[in-house]
């Protein structure tokens, strides 16, 4: 039987959109940001600052304080005092009301947050506006309601907060991760020292402004900025009882090691390398959209990204053809433009990592394919990239790239794809595309991953627990399960 030829779409000419950039005039940014400790913005002890830049333009947006050990100590002490003197004594329903108030204030300033998130991190404004910021507000709103209902979440056991929670978050969803961390910690009665990532500190510092305005008692939430050294000082501080970390598996392991024997409790949300599995009976066009959303959402800077595509052999040709066509329609460019699908890579360092893996992939012999789109000459950008006919043993298949790079493998049987999907140290998420319900449940029960999306991908919700199996970490964030990491018995 002759193969059905699908005519390629003509992407030249008619597919140009007029620029539709989001206005930036309404935002309120300072030239320099201090540390938020004990309810006040204070200068760092050593007076050191670092630049945060816009990855789409390479221009400096602001200077940000670098916290050293003494600043960390000050922040933890403030959190400890606030816990002992105020937060642990406050009635739960009052604590909840503060969290509700923070949720409302984020909603009121959603537009400003979206623009700053996009400026500082490079993600498309559509995603900041429709995903990051509303979900962050919703997360506070959801956990606010738990504050005075905790006894329902821990059947037959009486829970207590840990005290001071040290929280370290990554640069891929800066405000959203701050919300994922702070909201459940406060609802369970802990106080917080949060460190945002050094490339994306601005929305967390804007959140600090909201927290200050909300009247939350000083020291209940402290936000300090800096790089790995600041994070290490925070993790190792003796008054910290609980660590919540989202980031790479390598750093997660370092944290797990550094708190060994200390009795500190940790939840770790680490790397991933999700299998996104397309069966021959899947709705192909929807699946192709799901593949695109799975790997190119947020430039692929997503720990649960569907970075390993498995396509059943009988439909591989058509899926790859449609995927290539779809890639051509993706707009890579100005993150502030509302037409943009793929924004800027978060930092030069990350762009180098992605390019390193693209070279490794070529050297390993997988078939390399990139969209032919234009990318801006300034800023950090990467075309959407496919590696077709990748092998299970390839480094680009085994290691997390954290960029818009998709490996494609084919399979014949259900057994084979389960084996391949699970044969990896990670276990954060997975995707399954098929119209057959029983097949979905066969796969969703056998895939060793904490989140499984069936006929959808990259969906998040405050009520939905998120977190990994195996080397993708432990503990859950979101939902009732997200409370457990902040409660002791």
């Amino acid at each position: 039987m002759a193969k059905k030829i699908i005519p390629a779409l003509d992407f030249k000419g008619d597919w140009n959109y007029s620029p539709a950039p989001e206005d930036t005039k309404h935002i309120n940014l300072q030239k320099q940001y201090e540390l938020f400790i004990d309810g006040k913005f204070v200068k760092p002890a050593k007076g050191k600052y670092f630049d945060t830049i816009n990855p789409a333009t390479e221009q400096v947006i602001a200077k940000v304080a670098e916290a050293d050990d003494s600043d960390v100590n000050k922040a933890v002490k403030a959190a400890k005092t606030a816990y002992d003197k105020v937060w642990s004594k406050m009635p739960a329903k009052e604590k909840g009301k503060y969290i509700y108030r923070i949720a409302r204030m984020i909603q009121e300033r959603a537009r400003e947050f979206s623009v700053i998130e996009t400026l500082d991190g490079g993600k498309p404004i559509r995603e900041s506006r429709d995903v990051d910021v509303p979900l962050a507000a919703n997360h506070f709103f959801y956990y606010a309601g738990w504050a005075d209902k905790l006894e329902y979440a821990t059947p037959n056991r009486v829970s207590k907060p840990y005290g001071v929670a040290a929280q370290i978050i990554p640069w891929n969803f800066p405000l959203l991760m701050a919300a994922w961390k702070i909201a459940p910690a406060l609802a369970t009665g802990n106080t917080v020292v949060l460190k945002p990532a050094e490339t994306t500190p601005l929305t967390a510092l804007k959140l600090a402004e909201i927290i200050q305005e909300s009247g939350l008692p000083p020291g209940v939430v402290n936000i300090i900025t800096g790089a790995g050294k600041t994070g290490a000082a925070l993790v190792n501080h003796p008054d910290v009882s609980k660590i919540a970390f989202t980031g790479s598996t390598d750093v997660g392991k370092l944290i797990q090691k550094s708190i060994a024997g200390t009795g500190k409790k940790a939840t770790l949300e680490l790397g991933g390398k999700a299998a996104n599995i397309i069966f021959e009976d899947a709705p192909i066009n929807q699946a192709v959209e799901g593949i695109v959303n799975g790997i190119f959402f947020n430039q692929g800077h997503v720990c649960c990204a569907g970075s390993r595509l498995f396509v059943q052999e009988s439909v591989a040709d058509i899926v790859i053809k449609k995927l290539k066509d779809r890639l051509e329609t993706l707009i890579v460019g100005d993150p502030l433009d509302k037409n943009t699908d793929i924004g800027a890579i978060n930092s030069k360092e990350q762009l180098n990592t992605i390019n390193k893996y693209i070279k490794i992939g070529k050297d390993e012999g997988a078939e390399f394919y990139q969209s032919s789109c234009n990318i801006p000459s300034k800023g950090y950008f990467c075309r959407p990239t496919l590696f077709i006919n990748a092998s299970q043993s390839h480094r680009i298949v085994q290691e997390e790239i954290f960029g818009p790079v998709l490996t494609i493998q084919t399979f014949r049987t259900v057994e084979e794809v389960i084996e391949k999907a699970n044969n990896i140290p990670y276990g954060l998420s997975a995707g399954v595309w098929t119209d057959k319900g029983s097949k979905i449940f066969n796969l969703t029960t056998k895939l060793r991953a904490g989140v499984v999306w069936a006929n959808t991908y990259n969906k998040f919700d405050p009520t939905s627990p998120f977190g990994g199996y195996k080397e993708s970490g432990f503990g859950r964030e979101g939902g009732m399960h997200g409370l457990m990491g902040y409660l002791k018995f």
């Binding site: 037959n156 029960t445 939905s464």
Partner: protein, 293 residues
């Protein structure tokens, strides 16, 4: 001429078999008077690794068993244990506790198995959830077994600690490799015989004897062990375990309970060796919404 008694050879339990230790080494277990009660296997790293392979091989089918069936099997363990009461009482007393203490320990051990047998098909309903997400999706979370669990059983008891550590782990669909009490190992070997005759598939529980000081680093550093339960309070061994565990982000739980207490049990022990899996599926939204029926 007086009849010569047949002494029992205490072997280890791996994959449903009773091999001797690969190490060829033994330690003598003495009673209070200093008489040798038995020679106990000093399990080696190789024994441990074999046990992990057995546990991994058994993992898929054990976790796939209907929860109801797992409950029946745990109940069957309790039945078989009860049936060997006199042998356990003898082993407990010969290791140095009074008959009264032995009776109490034995009874709590049987009851604990019955307790966890009952949990096998219930904890999922307590700890699972259907999540009311804001988008048009059906979203639910269920607990699933973490996988292969390494257990360093409490050193200060022969039976109750062993049972209390193993039961919640296998009730939750995990398989395990257990290091029995070095000081009181006799019951562990006899308990293996109970397991072996109770419909527990080979490899679901593997029991080694030997020294924690020799084996704890292997338990904690093995790449195919997903979680580790350390029962005791040896700070050095806890530190070592938690440090080694980072090699594969192993989950480590330290228990230091008095297992003889009636309340030293609960579904949260099952949940320690569980992962929460969340599944999403779209819900079609066509028709019906505005209908007046």
């Amino acid at each position: 001429m007086a009849r010569l008694n047949i002494l029992k050879t205490y072997k280890i339990y791996i994959g449903g078999q009773f091999p001797r230790t690969e190490s060829g080494r033994y330690y003598p277990l003495l009673d209070k008077a200093g008489n040798t009660l038995a020679n106990i296997c000093l399990s080696s790293r190789k024994d441990f690794r074999n046990a992990v392979v057995a546990a991994r091989n058994a993992q898929g089918s054990w976790s796939a068993k209907p929860a109801f069936n797992r409950g029946q099997i745990l109940y069957r363990i309790a039945e078989m244990l009860e049936g060997r009461k006199s042998q356990f009482l003898e082993e407990l007393t010969v290791q140095g506790i009074t008959l009264k203490q032995a009776q109490a320990e034995f009874e709590i051990s049987v009851d604990r198995l019955v307790y966890y047998a009952g949990w096998c098909d219930k904890y999922q309903q307590i700890y699972g959830s259907v999540n009311p997400v804001a988008t048009s999706h059906f979203n639910f979370s269920v607990p699933e077994p973490t996988g292969v669990v390494g257990i360093i059983a409490p050193n200060n008891s022969s039976l109750i600690g062993l049972v209390s550590a193993i039961a919640p782990v296998i009730a939750g669909g995990n398989t395990c490799v257990v290091l029995a009490s070095e000081k009181f190992p006799l019951c562990s070997v006899t308990f293996s015989e109970v397991l072996n005759s109770s419909d527990v598939p080979g490899g679901v529980v593997n029991i080694l004897t030997g020294k924690s000081s020799e084996l704890v680093s292997h338990f904690s550093s093995h790449m195919d062990v997903n979680a580790m339960i350390y029962c005791g309070n040896n700070k050095e061994e806890i530190l070592l375990s938690e440090q080694n565990a980072t090699i594969n982000v192993k989950r480590v739980f330290v228990y230091n309970q008095n297992w003889m207490q009636e309340n030293a049990q609960g579904a949260h022990y099952i949940m320690d060796a569980q992962e929460i899996k969340t599944t999403w599926h779209p819900i079609e939204n066509i028709g019906g919404g505005g209908a007046k029926y």
